[in-house]
């Protein structure tokens, strides 16, 4: 009997292989990203600051809006542009709708298949037509809302450094609110099967996490980052706490927080700020006990899905009554800026240095998948050890490991933007 698993994980964005070596008593696991190197941090050097958000939004097709916004935040930070409150709120809404849309795709088209004995979307559509139908409706509603605010679904084009390029009229906002209203109704029903899922039990071996720390609200923009150990630091100091390393076997880097393996994402956000989730507290109560389990990322996502839609609807309703201040003048100057955002998969950091002509001279991007890649390895190890003790078959182990990795929703195309320095 072969005692090692080399499993290509499908139903994730990008190419991923998970290797589990069971020959030793101490199980070895590897999270091998096999996507092509694309060196975005190198590509943007020498480019004008106006081009950069548009280039880096091509890092990932799934969460392009998150990359776009983080990049815009970083450039605005470097140029000391103070955008208006309205723009800030609209940016947050854009991000939340994007999180909702990504969550729908991940939960109902990719991850839930592990628990319903389906291998692909078509099989699921045959066995659970109702579920797929409403998931598709919810997805298209989220896409419509994204299109109204961001211009396009993948790679947004309504925003430039300093503000929106088009005036978001009352009609547009009203239309978006209506769309989100429909979406909320669908989502409320749709998240039930996820909340009721019977997840495999697994104790998180490394329960450290890092999240963005907004003064109020959930998933809001902030300049501060907080760790599970209670340390709170400014975004510009991120390099003192979060260190990057080059993995020998993967095209992605890995990250450590104060030398410890950590995770980011919906589960981390919910662990830190579950009491701030207004409107969905009844569902939060259901999932709170389970949050120690890495598999419970799915449930955390379901909660966020509902919250994001409901909250975006609320914010937009409050905005549609008044004249929006959507553009701030930008003066080119030398500077350094860090943009942080809670992307669908967790904390995302963009960091640029500009010279006095607005040309990028240094760039660093740390994506959520890079941050939690070590945590996936640790969790996989702990899971396969546990399964081995229970004496399950290797195919079973492989399936469970795949399900665990998918629960993190790794995005490998995000992970491989890296440039190796020194």
């Amino acid at each position: 009997m072969s005692l090692s698993i080399q499993s290509k994980v499908d139903r994730v964005f990008g190419h991923l292989e998970v290797q589990v070596d069971l020959r030793d008593k101490d199980v070895k696991t590897k999270f091998v990203v096999m996507d092509d190197l694309r060196f975005f941090e190198h590509v943007v050097i020498g480019r004008k600051f106006t081009e950069v958000p548009y280039i880096v939004s091509r890092i990932c097709g799934a969460c392009s809006i998150a990359h776009f916004l983080a990049s815009v935040n970083a450039v605005e930070d470097a140029l000391k542009v103070e955008v208006s409150e309205d723009v800030m709120m609209l940016k947050e809404v854009m991000n939340k709708i994007q999180i909702a849309q990504n969550t729908v795709v991940h939960l109902y088209f990719l991850a839930i298949l592990d628990y319903l004995n389906s291998r692909n979307l078509n099989e699921l559509a045959l066995s659970k037509p109702e579920l797929v139908k409403s998931a598709i409706i919810l997805n298209s509603l989220c896409l419509q809302a994204t299109k109204l605010l961001a211009g396009r679904i993948v790679n947004p084009n309504t925003y430039v450094v300093g503000g929106f390029t088009k005036n978001l009229t009352k009609e547009v906002l009203e239309k978006t609110v209506k769309t989100l209203d429909k979406a909320e109704k669908v989502a409320r029903e749709l998240i039930k099967p996820i909340i009721d899922l019977d997840l495999p039990r697994l104790e998180d071996p490394e329960p450290h996490y890092v999240v963005l720390d907004p003064p109020t609200g959930y998933l809001s923009m902030s300049d501060y980052i907080v760790g599970s150990d209670g340390v709170r630091f400014r975004k510009s100091e991120y390099l003192n706490y979060i260190s990057e390393g080059v993995s020998e076997y993967s095209t992605s880097k890995y990250c450590l927080y104060n030398g410890k393996t950590f995770f980011v994402g919906p589960r981390a956000r919910l662990l830190a700020f579950s009491e701030r989730l207004s409107g969905v507290s009844d569902i939060v109560g259901h999932v709170r006990e389970e949050l120690k389990n890495p598999f419970a990322n799915l449930k955390a996502k379901a909660v966020e899905l509902l919250y994001c839609i409901a909250n975006s609807k609320e914010v937009l309703s409050s905005l549609k009554g008044r004249d929006l201040n959507i553009r701030t003048d930008v003066k080119v100057r030398a500077g350094e800026g860090v943009g942080v955002i809670e992307a669908p998969r967790g904390l995302l950091i963009h960091h640029y240095r500009l010279n006095d002509q607005g040309i990028i001279t240094y760039a660093n991007v740390i994506t959520p998948t890079v941050m939690f890649s070590k945590h996936v390895e640790v969790a996989t190890k702990s899971l396969s050890k546990k399964l081995l003790e229970e004496g399950v078959s290797l195919t079973e182990v492989e399936a469970k490991v795949g399900a665990l990795v998918r629960a993190y929703d790794p995005c490998l195309v995000c992970a491989v933007h890296l440039e190796v320095r020194r």
Binding site: D36, R38, H42, R58, R119, I153, N155, S247, V420
Partner: protein, 468 residues
Amino acid sequence: MTNSKLVVGIYSFGGCDGCRHEILNLGDALLELLGKYNVTIAHEPLLGYVDEKEEYDVVFIEGSITSESEVKKLVELRSKSKVLVALGSCSFLGGVPALMKDLKEGVAKNLTNAPIGKLVNVVPIGKYVKVDYWLRGCPINNVEFLTLIKKLVEGKFFRQGERRFDFCRTSVVNVNGKLLNLDGEKCIVCGRCVSVCSNLGVNALGIINRGIDIAVSTPFQEPLDNTPCISCGLCAAYCPVGAINYMNNIQLIQDMLRRGEKLIAYLEYEALAALAESEEVHPGKLITAIKELGFDKVVLWTPLAEVRPSTDLSIVPMSYAEHKYITQFYPDLKKYLTQPPATRIPYRAVLITQCVSRKVYGDYVLTAREVQTMLRSLDITELEPTDPDHIYRPSIYGYLRAVGPYELRGVLEAVRRGIIKTGAIVTYICPNGCLMGGGQPYSRLPFEVCVECRENYYDKLLKTYLTL
């Protein structure tokens, strides 16, 4: 799945997966494809299909090819598949990954154990394999994807490249029979030819249809001879992919030189200035280089040497293009036109010019771009500069210059209204005159800088050679 109408594989290389995300976002329509249209998706890991088939009907390629192992994989997929489709800008044009072109192993050397092969420069996948269809955009428009698949299900196999330049599929397009060479397989429908043509006010080309049927064509797909085309050749000069090209005479001239025929190169001032700029060398070295190619003599020539304006008002066209432009759009001013120059070049002399339009007169015309190609075999910087054997000087001075379409139109209106009554008007239809004509060599510089640089060279040339 033997009854399936279409077996589809979607393969992703170095890209952002945005195009596949768009396909996933089709939702209902995607399920309809799988059900009603009986399409089998064999390979698309994002949707959970992981079969590797031996034979496909259609393979979609997303993302750029960045390593040697992927080139192999791509060639293998081509051999397995009846139809190969490039999905989105990354595969079709190189996309954002193509921006990392100056980056080699040096940066990636710490990753020796990573599962990547030797890196290659990112180029469009058309360089490696034959591509049947291109879905443009970053990301793709998923409705185009749907339309294409439905057409393929219905058995409507057509090659997209054949649709481009629909007006001239069978032969070379000509004004008089032998000027432009169009290759629809290369066309990316960027629209630069269309915009340069409409800037001139000629509008011989336009974009027709939408979606996967989009193409560059003439009005009503008439042959180019029946359109207002003035054969200026700017569409060829600005085509970024070489889909529009003028017929080149390199082979003809080279054969003649090899046979030892004594040819005299009539080199235009503007061509010399532009070549000096694009090759970044002293003009004298270029004259030596042209002699090295086998030309017996190099003579510096200008069309203005031949102009014999009448005492009355005369409009001097610098080439056939201006002549046709004025006869076509200002027929009432035809009586003032003089004959286009370059008709009196001696037999067996080769004209080296910036003007594609002069090609209409005969076979012994080389554009600066063709000369640039011929010079590739030589190391010009090592050569000693020499002076030309003879210099033709302009025969007229004190004339009015009308450069570019806007100035030209203004001056012609002034003539029409009787504001200008006497003197010679020398007309250039190309923006920035002959320096940026249709036969210009490839420059490394951005447009504005290139114009400025060539003008400097031109002024210097006039100062040096006209005072000799």
